[in-house]
Amino acid sequence: MSIILTDLTKRFGEHLVVNRVSLDVRDGELFVLLGGSGSGKSTILRMIAGLSTPDAGKIELNGRDVTYLPPQVRGTGFVFQNYSIFRHMTVLQNVEFGLRIRKVKTKERARRAEELLDLVGLGGLGARFASQLSGGQQQRVALARALAYQPAVLLLDEPFGALDVKIRSQLRASLKEIQRQLKVTTILVTHDQEEAFELADRIGVMDAGHLIEVGTSETLYHQPDSEFTATFIGGGNVLVGRREHETIRLGSTTLPLPRAGHLADDGAPVRVLFRPETTLLQAERFAPDAGLHVLGQGVVVERIFAGALQRIVLEVEGLRGVRAVSPRVSYGQKATRVEVIQTAQREPNASFAPGAKLWIGLRDFHVLAPSGLKVLLCASDDEGGRIAAEMGSRLAQATHGPATLLTVVSRPELVAPARTRLEAMRRDLMPRVANLELRVRVGTSATEILLEAQEGHYEVIALGQVPDRNGYRGLGSTARQVLEQAEIPVLLTRSPEGKFENILICTRGGEPGKTDVVFGGRVARRANAQATVLYVQTPQTTDDEQKRAARHLLQAEASLSQQGVQCKLKILDGSIVESILQQAKTDNSDLIIIGAQAPRGRPRLRWQNLANQILGSTDCPVLVVPMNE
């Protein structure tokens, strides 16, 4: 490995520009760091060259730790976007400069410089000054200058950024050629996908200081892991469905669940990517043997002619309610939109005209890697908020999920100070959760929390609880309302400290009990925790219920081990609350998961009371999972 970066981190003031980046670049490889402006890609390059010092992490070049060495001794060749050709030196003197510093003999260095000028296609121009050269030629000089002293690695910072399109493509071709010839390990930084595709042996995609994903151009285009890569590279449709056993449900249609790659947990969201050019349109239904996955029927909303291709946007009714990540949802749009690219025909194809009703078939689709639990941290301005943020971020950390710090203020003028407070909070939590967003809403707490949870498609709401002035340890009013109406699990916690190693899943017998077992399994699998599934028999439990419960527990064990979670089963007799507390004590549980029924006829209140009682007598956090009957 020529270049090894380990947990490289850089801050500018409060701003984390490079966030724990680890990367191996192989010998002789041309590696491209691709990302938007401000994604931290140039900062990484500057740290490798020694022009900027990392705050944490390690840089190795050819097996040597150079993290804190000055740039002079690192042996890197650096090419800047602005060329930085020394103006008072001739082209030849520029190229020789590195050799002159190294006290190479005059004859030898002139020979070497001439050789390099020939290599970069500037033979015979050695006597000129920078002012007599075009931008493209200057950049060629910069390349020759960087290569003259045979650097261990070549670093190029947006080298073609200041050049026009035609010169750019010529230079790209020369660079690729030269790099191949010299086999010098190279990192090139660019925001231009096309450039990355054309040049790279492998590409690293960067966003907001994170190295999101690394792979070859083809892999990143066809089989990306992350949502960012899928939408950043090329145009694409990304829809969020849900895994149902062996299928992916997308509105009224289903797609088969691919066997290879990452598998989402049953019931968890699945993000499906299909590229516009692998999608077919046809007026008649597709034949069943066509080998296509039919997405449904859509109406053409827009057709754009773009030379060789035409871009067609359709609205698909059957996908109503499916969350679309890409193309971006426009304001007032009702149905989900899908983008398709077809080769343009000479005659404007009437069947693609706006208003046409067409069947949409997918020749190919790809499932993105499942993301961790998306947690909403209700960080109100009190002790409870702090506890929620602490514990919730631990949950997000354990499950590798993104999180959002939310606070609700009563008046618009309080938004700015609240934001400042959240930013300070984020700084503290940053090492734990890398992907941490901030949100301030105006209104009443419970309502806004529920709205945010729905709009942001969160998977868990984290709420902190503190005893009130009288030492009452029950639920607060916000927590009550959230519990009453939330459609997603709610984490209630009294303590900011905790880990997720032992999880106690308290289940009811039968169908509704499955929800919390499945969800508990997701948490346990992601957090690598052990699970105990507990069923409590009361004197009122009937024989039928007992039998059903026994079946249910066996199924629970089966599905948990399917998810790769170690679990044990437990049946206890007695009062529900006492049994749960007792079991939590024996297991040393870090998290208690209980189910809550849908609010029909308000039986959920019983479960709310249960949560209330459990929280009242233990510091162990409780996760209340709503159950739909």
């Binding site: 060259a49 022009l51 002079q72 650096f78 930085s84 020394f86 400069f97 510093i101 002293y149």
Partner: protein
């Protein structure tokens, strides 16, 4: 029919130019001419005789020496200051930026006074140093100190803008190529500064040559010891030796013209490049 736009007439402007000349003549041109008229009146022999008196010779040489030294020392100090101010970020940087440019605004007599109050026999440092034999006031060193102070901003002013414009990537390129900081400065930064250095040095030299207000206080105006050319002119005038004063004044004026045209020529050629 389309009306052809009237060609705007270039105003003949005889009148405003006339006014300008009427003001400039007594204000600028005639005083300059007076020096040479007076110098010519006594004829070349008188002029040469006035110049070759030993004290006039000393004053001119001393002035040139001080001007060279001032330009040289401030060339280094000013460049270094400009480099630090433009490349490094540190607390108090803005304040320092103001302070180093302050000498332009302070009356030179005040500079002379303050130097006396620092180094003089009753000065803050002087009261300790003078008994030890360190006493720059009324000595050539004192004159040099005054000139360094007064002309400090000129070097800075012509070098710093060039440094501010020079992107840091040039130095960084030199570093990655293997040059240490000194080499990067020597081979990359300094050549880029050539123009600024030259014009800064000329400006400093010219100002030092004509410095009077601070010099007259710190030098004590001792002929054959600390008397610069402007002081000589002043002293001769006071003594009624108009011819002696005038001959040296004519030489100073000529020198200034030469320096000034050199500077203009240089600026023109560097603007073209």
């Amino acid at each position: 029919m389309i009306a052809t736009p009237k060609r705007s007439r270039i105003p003949r402007g005889l009148f405003p130019v006339g006014i300008l000349l009427a003001v400039m003549l007594p204000l600028l041109l005639m005083p300059l001419a007076a020096i040479f008229v007076f110098a010519a009146r006594s004829g070349l022999p008188g002029f040469v005789a006035a110049l070759s008196s030993p004290d006039a010779q000393f004053a001119l040489r001393f002035s040139l020496l001080i001007a060279f030294l001032t330009a040289f020392i401030n060339g280094i100090l000013g460049t270094y200051t400009a480099y630090v101010l433009s490349k490094y970020r540190f607390p108090g940087r803005d304040a320092l930026n103001v302070v180093v440019n302050l000498p332009v605004a302070i009356p030179t007599v005040v500079v002379g006074t303050s130097l006396l109050l620092l180094w003089g026999p009753i000065g803050i440092l002087g009261q300790f140093l003078v008994p030890l034999g360190v006493s720059p006031m009324f000595m050539p060193a004192g004159v040099l100190l005054a000139h360094l102070f007064v002309t400090f901003p000129y070097m800075l002013g012509s070098v710093k803008p060039v440094l501010d414009e020079l992107e840091v990537t040039y130095e960084e390129a030199a570093y990655t190529i293997g040059a240490n900081q000194l080499q990067a400065f020597r081979f990359v930064v300094l050549p880029a500064l050539r123009g600024g250095l030259f014009s800064g040095a000329l400006l400093t030299f010219a100002h030092s040559l004509g410095e009077f207000g601070a010099t007259v206080l710190v030098s004590g105006n001792l002929s054959f010891r600390t008397q610069t050319a402007p002081l000589y002119i002043f002293a001769q005038f006071e003594a009624g030796n108009i011819e002696a004063a005038n001959a040296v004044a004519a030489v100073l004026a000529m020198l200034s013209f030469v320096l000034f045209f050199a500077l203009m020529q240089f600026n023109k050629s560097s603007a073209r490049a």
